[in-house]
Amino acid sequence: MKAPDRYYDFQKDISGCGVFGVISKKRNLIPGDMPIRSMACMHDRGNGLGGGFAAYGIYPDLADKYAFHLMCDTEAALESAEQVLKHYFTVHESHPIPTRKVVTIKNPPIVTRYFLTIKKDRPAEVRDLGEQDYVVNAVMHINHRIAGAFVFSSGKNMGAFKGVGFPEDIADFFRLDEYKAYIWTGHNRFPTNTPGWWGGAHPFTLLDWSIVHNGEISSYGINRRYLCEHDYLCTLMTDTEVVAYELDLLIRKHGLTKELACKVFAPPFWDEIARMPKQEKDVYTALRMVYGSAMLNGPFAILVADNTGLFGLNDRIKLRPLVVAEKDDMVFMSSEESAIREVQPELDRVWMPKAGEPVIVHLEA
């Protein structure tokens, strides 16, 4: 091994991931053009090795069906995955996800989507699972056991779109300018520890949950083992995957509120807990005792969406930037204010949330 010639003489790429999210609390549909332009404004936060978006409210006519997005390396992998889907679900509609040829997007996988409902006559081995656990089980089955096939979206009336490329190019590839949604999140990736591959791009999703993340989950190992004990298998080789599954475990299965789940991810320091009134102290002590293995260590700014809203959260010492802004019924969350101003020059309020304090926005009923 030898360092490359003139190793000292290069143009350093100074970067970090970029995240953007927007929600219309009144469920007004926002054209894809908005998140695309915002992400393009933060082009330099990524390096072309990952881009993606999540959109909510995009399949209103099929809102009662689970919308599965699949990426497959080969036709054979697709065929195997389809067998699994048919084993668990009734397929109401399926087709290739519409794409465009984009010069910068090389060797894309085969991307297909399915609109599914649970089979009436369920397979015996999963007959007793609750409906959503049943869906999670099917996702884990394909991602873990079907080589070259991955489910990258499995919620209702929402979808994730992601791959290797800059976000604006991925958006072009998936024709996201043709979609409208009441929540959008976007991600620009600068992979540091793990490969830049299609499955490893953000968002990470499970059921309606989607997450985009700037930073690094240093506790990935312990989080992954904890999730494994609860039948969530990590297969996508990117640390952020654990957050998607922890959201499902803590909020859907254990019934924690989003606020409390955020306090599991980014708990108050022990000295802060010591100064709290008794009741609060008991709650936070219990959370740290019970969910120590679910705590996210390391730097992060995350944006999480589901069919009820959008929230943003920083790690407790704020090692990644996050800006929040409001305009009428819209709330924006972004790594940089300029990405918000790019699409909404006039804003009612702009602020940087406190470390470890979530900003939670709910859709109106």
Binding site: C41, M42, I317
Partner: protein, 250 residues
């Protein structure tokens, strides 16, 4: 006579935009008005000399980094890394600023009207006539003045949109071994870094604060008297080398 130039940044990538600025500086322009700035990084980075910039819009990361002398006025908010390792000059921000303002700053002044993010003024340093100064009109996040080795941080906590938060975040001045942090009013004990305490200011401190406040208020059209109506406390390092014995006990 000053040579003036207005540049429109709309839709221009930061490299081309900074090239335009540098070409104009080489051509003798000393007064810039930058319109429609949004996200362009490194504005005025590394520039040397008596040049002024009025910036409209939200400049990108590391504005004024490494610069020696220019005066920058931002009419809106600024992002992260303002004045990174700047050597001399003045940056005035009429809105708020993000994280790591004045990182490793060596000289010059940064005046911010509103709130600032985390890790502001970390690793500031002073040497002989070089004395960096940051004045913050709003509130600050955690780690203000962490590892500070010299210079002055003045925190007012007045022009903030976070009424319920403490004036500064956790770990104020942690590991500082030079310089001084002045805070208007009181600092909650638990927000101050290990081994440090808030002390009363003496007459010499008061003179420094008064001069700075007057200059700050004039730049931002604020009422200096109103600012000076309250008392101040100071946080100074408790020794020259607070961690000198950490690994090798003396």
């Amino acid at each position: 006579m000053a040579k003036k130039l207005t540049l429109d940044a709309s839709g221009i990538y930061y490299r081309q935009f900074n090239e335009q600025i540098r070409a104009a500086v080489a051509d003798g322009v000393t007064e810039f008005v930058l319109k429609n700035v949004n996200s362009q990084r490194y504005i005025a980075g590394g520039l040397d000399g008596d040049i002024s910039f009025e910036i409209h819009g939200v400049p990108g990361q590391d504005m004024g980094s490494f610069m020696r002398g220019p005066k920058l006025r931002v009419k809106n908010n600024a992002q992260d890394g303002v004045g990174n390792t700047m050597d001399d000059g003045l940056i005035v921000i009429e809105g708020l600023a993000g994280d790591v303002v004045g990182y490793a700053m060596r000289g010059g002044k940064i005046f911010i009207k509103g709130d600032v993010g985390y890790r502001v003024g970390i690793h500031m340093k002073a040497y002989m006539e070089k004395l960096p100064v940051i004045v913050i009109g709003g509130k600050a996040g955690d780690f203000l003045g962490e590892y500070m080795a010299g210079g002055i941080l003045l925190l007012l906590g007045m022009y903030s949109d976070k009424p319920t938060e403490p004036i500064t975040g956790r770990s104020l001045g942690t590991g500082m071994h030079g310089g001084v942090i002045y805070v208007r009013g009181e600092v909650p004990r638990e927000q101050i870094g290990p081994g440090l305490t808030a002390q009363p200011v003496d007459d010499a401190d008061k003179a420094v604060i008064e001069n700075l406040v007057k200059e700050y208020a004039a730049e931002l059209k604020l009422d200096a008297k109103e600012i000076l109506r309250s008392g101040f406390v100071k946080i100074k390092p408790f020794s020259h080398r607070p961690y000198g014995n950490l690994y090798v006990p003396a």
